[in-house]
């Protein structure tokens, strides 16, 4: 650790470094932040990454396209289904496969449930980061219900790997529809409770309003996406601009806030939960009958060329960029992960705040470290 002393305006001001992480409770994983602090005020934040980098992009270059899908579970594990979907959509678009409507609808429902589950966890952790520990358990209670739905249909709770290029691994479980309906009914009573417990709380509002302000121009320039971008009034919902799966058949509102502070990002996520619920409700009653999978070749070879697919994960825009040379492996596969771009703006919005502000800001960036350290 270095020590520096700077002298400004004849006042001796001692800045010092502290290491936040890699085992710090607020960094939600193994992220290390090198903080330059003057008293309590943050002067500089420098992230140090790579503690769990597995080089998934390199692994993809040797794996077949079916095998790549399960690796994406391990990136942003909170939106694993959407990550899987991104890879599958890339492959399907490249092969120009006609995907059955049933698959599209089921993918969208599970994708939106994933988003709700991710936001539930985020809400719990957000509360915990600002000091209200109870929210964590309430958030997890609701998330468990979704995880049970997933487990029944996909067999796993977190790393689901339910998508395969060409459709879904299995058809949905017979209980799926009823369980989802029960969850929607349950969760509609819980979001208002979230609001009463945390959103309306005067301490919480004081902690988050005007903290970590990100302007719209900066949001675009920093490549912010997802709720981080939308909290700054930057309309960036991939589901609106480049709809995929069954998202072109549903109506939903893109939740936008203009303040750009921590509270705005918080509210965007709360509204997103409502919107996701409404998408699920629109689709759950009319899942079309049909095949759950189209047959693909055992060895999938993508045509020569470049393919790019964007999806909206719970954290923002995930891009899959495949360069294919016509073989069974991709020549180069790049994941444009939302967390990576969102992390890059942390220094910009955290400087000038206090340590407590940094923690609250980081909570609304909703970083998942494996997503950054791919």
């Amino acid at each position: 650790m270095q020590e520096t002393t700077t002298i400004n305006n004849n006042f001796k001001s001692e800045e010092y470094f502290i290491n936040m992480g890699p085992q710090h409770p607020a960094t939600h994983g193994v992220l290390r932040l090198l903080l330059t602090i003057d008293g309590e005020i943050i002067k500089k934040v420098e992230p140090d990454l790579g503690y769990i980098h597995r080089s998934i992009e390199k692994m993809c270059e040797r794996d077949s396209y079916q095998q790549i899908v399960h690796l994406t579970d391990r990136m942003d594990y909170l939106s694993s289904h959407i990550n899987n979907e991104a890879v599958c959509l890339t492959v399907e678009n490249a092969l120009q496969l006609e995907i059955p409507e049933r698959v599209k609808v089921v993918r969208t429902i599970i994708g939106e449930l994933t988003r709700i589950a991710s936001h539930c966890l985020w809400w719990g952790v957000m509360g915990m980061d600002v000091g209200a520990l109870t929210t964590y358990f309430y958030g997890f209670r609701d998330r468990e219900m979704i995880n049970d739905i997933f487990e029944e249909t996909c067999g796993a709770r977190l790393t689901m790997n339910y998508n395969v290029p060409g459709g879904l691994m299995w058809d949905i479980h017979p209980n799926f529809v009823n369980r989802v309906k029960a969850f929607v009914k349950h969760f509609k009573t819980k979001i208002p409770e979230y609001d009463r417990l945390l959103t309306g709380n005067v301490i919480f509002q004081k902690r988050t309003k005007g903290v970590g302000v990100l302007s719209k121009e900066d949001a675009i320039s920093f490549g912010a996406s997802g709720p981080v971008g939308r909290g700054s009034g930057y309309s960036c919902d991939v589901r609106k601009y480049h709809p995929y799966s069954a998202l072109d058949k549903v109506t939903f509102k893109e939740s936008l806030q203009t303040a750009g502070d921590t509270f705005a990002r918080y509210q965007v996520r709360i509204q997103e939960m409502w919107q996701s619920l409404s998408i699920v409700e629109q689709l759950i009653d009319n899942i079309p009958e049909g095949e759950h999978r189209v047959k693909t070749n055992a060895v999938i070879k993508l045509p020569k060329g470049e393919f790019y697919q964007k999806v909206e994960t719970a954290r923002g825009e995930l891009g899959v960029y495949v360069i294919s040379t016509g073989t069974k492996n991709p020549y180069r596969l790049k994941f444009r992960s939302p967390g990576f771009s969102n992390l890059s703006l942390l220094n910009h919005i955290a400087v000038g705040g206090k340590i407590g502000d940094l923690v609250a800001t980081m909570a609304t960036l909703d970083l998942v470290i494996p997503d950054i350290d791919r």
């Binding site: 990454l49 790579g50 980098h53 080089s55 992009e57 390199k58 040797r62 794996d63 900066d218 675009i220 320039s221 920093f222 490549g223 996406s225 930057y234 309309s235 960036c236 601009y241 045509p303 020569k304 060329g305 470049e306 393919f307 790019y308 964007k310 825009e317 891009g319 960029y321 360069i323 294919s324 040379t325 020549y331 180069r332 790049k334 444009r336 990576f340 771009s341 992390l343 890059s344 703006l345 910009h348 350290d373």
Partner: protein
Amino acid sequence: MTNEALQKLISSWFPNPEAGITPEPIQVSEGEGIAEPQEPINPSLLEFTEEGSQFLNVSVKPENLHELMTQLKASNETSFDYLFCLSGVDWGTALGVVYHLESTTYRHSIVVKVKTEDREDPNFDSVCDIWRTAEFHEREVFDFFGIKFHNHPNLKRLFLTEEWDGFPLRKDYVDEINMVIK
């Protein structure tokens, strides 16, 4: 704007001074997704293609990169203000960087590609003064491909340690202990 209109506009920014004279043969390495241009004489310093990609692809020489990027962002007709993906690619013989750009006002996209044959000391201009997100993405590319970016404020390894030997995402990288090759 449509891809044709974009192509017309952007190519007019960089007129080829040698247009009319026999153009240099363009090196196409193996495994590259870009075909040779159709016209025998390219009126622009840039090469455009839409083959094998859903976007309009522009290939640019390293010395023109920064100027082109500045124009793409600043021009009112293009206003590519959102750099949504910046990837390093090892083309086998050449190293390159691929920029995916989108305009948040017009919602059109473009892909800019730049490459260099120099594998020992590959150099490009940094674009992080144009899009600030490039700062981290360029560090990532530097970390995994060893491509250096001029004028980058903080170009050092991001994921790997300073003493890491080699650049893992290059095709010729070998690590017999940790890499499992099927």
